[in-house]
Amino acid sequence: MIEAFNNINNAVCGFLHINPYIQGVVVLVCINVIAILGMAVLTGFTRLFSFGNAGFMAIGAYCAAILIVRHNFNFLIAMVIGAALAGFVAFLLGSLTLKLKGDYFLITCLGFGECVRVLLNYFKKFSGGSAGFPGIPSYSSMLFSVICAILAFFIAWRFIHSKYGRNLTSIRENEVAAEAVGINAFRYKRLSFTFSAVYAGWAGALYAGYMMYVVPTNFALNKSIELITTTVIGGLGSLTGSVLGALLVTLLPEVFRSLSNYRMLIYGFAVVLIIMFRPNGLYGYKEFSLKRLINRLKGGKAKTGKEAA
């Protein structure tokens, strides 16, 4: 099964003349896009903060890796189980902690993420400890990752533009008012939290198949912070903005290899400046639309695209 996918991928890439380096970059972009779409739903549309998404990524990655290597699962099934397990854990954690307010919720997520990392380090027999878990077959080919990312975007788009997504947005705008019109804020927050964890687990499972080996330090607090940072740079409350953010944050370091030492420094400055001067991010609270872009290119007369619509 894996070989079939990889063969198709090789054929497609050979046909399009895509070299392995670019394939790798595309896979990384896709993984980040999936993880960040999850963050976007949680932070951008529900205004909940999670510093634990790296923990959910770890759950997805290790679950998929262990099922494939030790129990000979099909990689597709293993990936689905990994994502589902991450979601299930988030559901349980959310049931307990989502009643907490503001920063108290945030710190429990952070604590959860760190606990996952420490436990993975500690139970060496189960997870390989800090030396990592090797021997994962390479299943995250470019084609497969792109399909996953497109599917993830499509699902997230449908979700946000459904009744559920609108309820989430209303909770973001004013939780008390949302409750007053009959939205069960707790249940919807839990839904959003679970959704983002499923996406994190999915991204984690893909990551395991790309790196072919996972270590707990890949999923440390810094990874969670990077996810949040990217979401903010891309724009809160916009799925396309988040994808744009993921693209920028993954591609720019590849383009400017010589600046790689300054990568995190530049992120830091970008976040501070964006929060100070353009708090909506690159593409906040609106989605990318071809129509608006064409109107803007045509000239200043259709400034906001209102006439076109």
């Binding site: 920063d103 108290y104 429990t108 959860f112 500690y122 008390v176 300054y262 501070v272 929060i275 100070m276």
Partner: protein, 290 residues
């Protein structure tokens, strides 16, 4: 053995407390968690290292300059970044994201300027231990313990008995009303940042003397944040109690169970405690404002 662990725990808890009270003070005024706070400690320690080891000033003077450095950075953050974000009327979440960005910047700058190398103060304290009732206690632990206690008592006096403290408490209670009644809100907030930054500087130098100085040492800020949440966000006595609890718990877990599970126990304590008491030990119940 037990007494020894207890003293070590309390002395580490004291260092956490210096930072945790800063988190609490700022949270009580501005309702956000200042993620860059641990970085103030790191920068304070680096200032002290530069003045002590490279410039060659006497240690006490260098430490004093380090504390001032921490305070200055904290003050500048408030003046240049946080105040600007507040003036746009953005939600508090944005302050926190900004602080996260600042924390990344400081960590990276320290990494680029000083490299990731571990540095230690050339200044030698008597590293010897003294024996009290069969327990061997590090002199450094005792000094840090006494110093922390003095500073914290002074801090509590400052908050509860002085005009400055009254202003701070008034703003924490209701910033708008305080402003109407003639409290200079922005100035008080800036002073609180100075105060919190200098406490962080002291914490950073004490920590650096006990272990080493390195760019990611600001992560003790995370522990201090956990401690201030355990104690209840926005409560200074809560932060102190939380820090001591956390410090003692950590040393006992590393001493008797396993040092690699230390962090697991502190975070598990945090989650369990919040489930039982959602606003920490001493926290006031937070209500969302409509």
């Amino acid at each position: 053995m037990f007494l020894q662990q207890l003293i070590t725990g309390i002395s580490i808890g004291g260092i956490y407390a210096l930072l945790a009270t800063g988190y609490s003070l700022i949270y009580s005024l501005l309702d956000f968690s200042n993620w860059a706070h641990g970085e103030f400690a790191m920068l304070g320690a680096y200032f002290a290292i530069v003045f002590a080891n490279m410039v060659g000033l006497p240690f006490m003077l260098a430490a004093l300059l380090g504390v001032c450095g921490g305070a200055l950075i904290s003050f500048l953050c408030e003046k240049l970044v946080y105040r600007h974000i507040r003036s746009t009327g953005a939600p508090n979440m944005f302050l926190m994201i900004g602080a996260m960005g600042l924390s990344t910047i400081f960590q990276q700058v320290a990494n680029l300027v000083f490299t990731g190398q571990y540095r230690s103060f050339k200044f030698k304290l008597p590293v010897s231990t003294i024996e009290i009732a069969g327990a061997y206690l590090g002199v450094l632990d005792l000094i840090s313990l006494v110093l922390t206690a003095v500073i914290l008592v002074f801090l509590i006096y400052l908050i509860n008995k002085t005009k400055f403290g009254l202003n701070v408490r008034a703003i924490a209670c209701n910033a708008g009303a305080a402003r109407v009644l003639g409290v200079r809100v922005d100035r008080s907030i800036a002073s609180v940042f100075l105060l919190a930054g200098s406490l962080a500087g002291v914490a950073g130098i004490l920590y650096g003397m006990k272990y080493n100085v390195f760019p990611t040492m600001g992560n003790i800020g995370l522990k201090a944040f956990v401690a201030s949440v355990v104690g209840g966000l926005g409560s200074v006595p809560g932060a102190i109690v939380g820090s001591l609890l956390l410090g003692v718990l950590e040393t006992f877990v590393s001493g008797y169970i396993s040092s690699s599970l230390r962090d697991f126990f502190s975070f598990a304590l945090l989650i369990v405690l919040l489930l039982v008491k959602p606003s920490g030990l001493f926290g006031v119940d937070v209500q969302d404002k409509a």
